[in-house]
Subunit: 157 residues, 2 copies
């Protein structure tokens, strides 16, 4: 069983290549909050953006198009210990799918200006969904990431 | 440009068909919190689950395998107004991809017992990722959903 997916748009990002993102300065849990970019939705899908301005945050599903294969045990960026790939956000995974929540700044036709970009220029977008109360979880446990990510669940952004 | 994806597992759910989910009683933002089920990860990917027990919440990416085409303007479940498909969580979308955050109850080998299930029995799983501080957004705006979803960002679950 296989599924075929096709891009509905493309990410425009200040990061031109993978190495631009792989930096300690973005390792913090709010590291990408200020990074701005654009989601260009192809004209044929523009009508599907109706009503989207009402939402402050969007879930973007995309492909890690520069991913090259995967291992089930992998060293996360800036780490020395091997972890199960499903307990990491590594781009090198069985299905190279990415998920990032972005903040909508404004919409202009088929272009969404957003912040919170952690994808590279040219990343193919597969889907956009509204981020809702259901996606907000509190009292989360962060496993091996605990020592790295600041606990920010009580922050008000 | 097309992408081929293959399932890494399958959802076991108390919901046997789409109609079982399409009920007013689940419309609340916490409607599925108590629904338990299992994520069966295929044996060949089991090693990728290492370290996953440390995380309380997981992001599950899956295909809406009962989706049948889409329209760019669509009436969300229980609603009368047409909305842009990307401002809804409708299963009928250009790429029929779903995203749900589940709570991990326990792991037994390649089986993850979880709560928060809103998928139907047999749903193909494409990816599992840890839910981290980066996925927690506060002060969110809910657009047309506002009147339906309770504002729960200040809840402690």
């Amino acid at each position: 069983m296989e599924f075929k997916l096709k891009p509905i748009g493309i990410v425009h990002s200040p990061f031109k290549k993978k190495e631009d993102i792989e930096s300690k300065k973005y390792a913090d849990s709010r590291g990408f909050d200020s990074i701005q970019g654009e989601l260009e939705i192809f004209k044929e899908y523009e009508d599907g953006l109706k009503d989207i301005e009402g939402f402050s945050h969007l879930i973007v599903l995309f492909t890690f198009h520069r991913s090259e294969g995967y291992r089930l045990h992998t060293k996360p960026l800036l780490e020395d210990t091997l972890r199960g790939v499903f307990s990491t956000r590594s781009p090198n995974r069985p299905n190279p799918l990415g998920m990032t929540v972005v903040n909508v700044i404004k919409r202009k036709g088929n272009i969404l200006k957003v912040s919170g970009i952690d994808m590279i220029e040219g990343t193919p977008i597969l889907d956009i969904k509204p981020y809702t109360s259901r996606d907000q979880k509190s009292s989360i446990k962060l496993g091996w990431l605990k020592k790295r990510m600041k606990k920010t669940q009580k922050d008000k952004s």
